[in-house]
């Protein structure tokens, strides 16, 4: 394999991984930006998205339906969690959220184990996504190209939503000063609920998309949530751009690191995070509070 072909194929692999990481980290960072909550249940919801997606795909035989339905169902669950568990805590310290979302993570992860059992699951891709194409003389799976494109599309759409729509303006304003937004007549409670549900739905979307690559298995959430934390911290909590750049950084470090320095790749990610936090406690694109 020529060096160019190697770089292109590995680069596309890295982009596909970055896209998956983006879906989970953007939800985490949106929730943090609006609600000042570190959602420890985020990994479990990603995993739930994967399992729900598998079930929908197996029952209906339609991949696209799974892709649409799993995020909606998990977002609905997110609405319930926000109303029942988080809302009573808004006047408490941030530590309470850290703990309560850890409890939610336990419940969701255990619920999945009860509902789906210990065997890993996957589904067949529709024929259009299953094959591979030849790039620079190398066979390359279509699905990874699809993932990379889908990730870019969702990132652009979200950015447009936040920057160009009225609702996006309200969300950004709430992140800046919730009390002022409330005083202007917007019911901030609904903004919070909506953003939490949106974040959960995005995590679930990432989960469904991950299934063809890694299968749905019981440890899926616990591993990926820490990657998402690393991204959000490196990029800066609550920063959209930070989440994009962080996802790319971690996606590329993991992909190329696993090839060149398999023993150091994992540690390198955490070292990078520590270095960033020490130099810029708010992250690369984080704003001072």
């Amino acid at each position: 394999m020529s060096l160019t072909a190697f770089l292109v194929t590995q680069g596309l692999n890295a982009l596909a991984l970055s896209a998956l990481l983006f879906f989970i980290s953007i939800g985490l960072t949106l929730i943090f930006g609006i609600m000042r909550i570190i959602n420890f249940a985020h990994g479990a919801l990603y995993m739930l998205g994967a399992y729900v997606g598998v079930s929908v795909a197996l029952w209906t035989g339609r991949y696209w339906l799974a892709l649409a339905l799993a995020p909606i169902l998990v977002a609905a669950l997110g609405l319930g969690v926000e109303a029942l568990v988080l809302r009573p805590l808004y006047r408490r310290e941030h530590g309470a959220f850290l703990l309560v979302t850890f409890g939610v993570a336990l419940v969701v992860a255990e619920g999945i184990r009860l509902g789906w059992g210990p065997t890993a699951r996957r589904f067949a891709l529709p024929s259009g996504l299953a094959g591979s194409v030849t790039l620079l003389g190398e066979a390359f799976p279509v699905y990874r190209i699809f993932l990379a494109c889908f990730g870019v599309a969702v990132a652009v759409a979200l950015w447009q939503f936040l920057e160009r729509t009225r609702l996006g303006l309200v969300i950004r304003a709430t992140a800046q000063n919730a009390e002022m937004v409330h005083a202007l007549g917007v019911d901030v409670r609904w903004v919070r609920s909506g953003v939490f549900a949106l974040g959960c739905g995005l995590a679930a979307l990432g989960g469904v998309l991950a299934v063809p690559l890694v299968t749905a298995y019981l440890g899926l959430g616990a591993g990926v949530v820490v990657d998402a934390f690393v991204i959000v911290i490196i990029g800066g909590m609550g920063s959209f751009v930070g989440s994009v750049i962080g996802s790319l950084l971690v996606g590329f470090v993991q992909t190329f690191g696993n090839f060149y320095l398999p023993d150091l790749a994992l540690a390198a990610m955490y070292l990078a995070m520590i270095a960033v936090l020490v130099l810029r406690p708010r992250g690369l694109f984080g704003q001072d509070e």
Binding site: F40, L89, H94, A96, L98, G103, I274
Partner: protein
Amino acid sequence: MGWAGAVVIAGLAAAPAVLPGFLVTSLTEVLILGLFAMSLDLLVGYTGLDSFGHAAVYGLGAYTASLLLLRAEVSLPTAVLGGALLTAVLALPMGWLCTRTTGVSFAMLTLAFAQLLYAVAYKWQSVTGGSDGLAGVSRTPGPFGLTWFTSRPGYYYFVAGCLAGAYVLCRAFVASPVGTTLLAIRENERKASALGYNPRAYKIAVFVIAAFFGGLAGALYAPFAGFASPDLFFWILSGQVLVMVIVGGSGSLLGPIAGAAVFLLLEHHLSGLTDSWALILGLIFIVFVVFVPEGLWGIVRRHAATPAALLEESGAEHPVP
């Protein structure tokens, strides 16, 4: 402490004589995790530092004690004390870096350190045994021939002695001027700073002290379980020990020990009743955070103590929401 305390101490002392063996083993585990939770509460309850990476010191204590036992073949007490001391030394740079940040960033940075150590334990095969961890960590007494430690009741008393010693030291520490300064930092860091204290130095100090006792717990765990594995660094364990602190009641030294007992009791009991014990545990935990922020210890104190005693205690043992 009164008569209730005396009954508990007498009960713990008599336990190996009257209880069946497997319960003595469970009780030993409760005491080890109780020590671990108590050490975390020095940070969470007394200083307001929400560490989400306390498993880092547990794992460090377990690995260093295991290596001392397996490679250096020192005696058990030496390995345990050595594990705790080395953990405290390694925690110094960690604490120096982590205390540069506050709040959520502090929680995340401690988590990052624990995960970094997890990655190192996983990959540094030649020293840590990789994903298999270090197996065959025995309670071999070494040159002094203290064979007593190797028996089940012997090890129980050894752990109980370590916990009692740690409790007395921590009690003295939180009641000391340094301890009350930590409370001042927890309540209002800027005010403490304005009064001439250097909050950062105090935070680093308590970080290292908490690491010593957390490392001690880890060092006691490895010979108890017979192994040290990378999971001892994993964030799930950091979360579980926080659960113990909150359920038991943060801002008190005995509360987290009670929390550890409840946690293990539920785990063992529920896992016997149903496969989904973690589900029920998670639900119980959510209910505690939402409805009982002061924890079990807070309930006991609210119902048992006289108003005068509460007033007297409120300065030193104010429950943290």
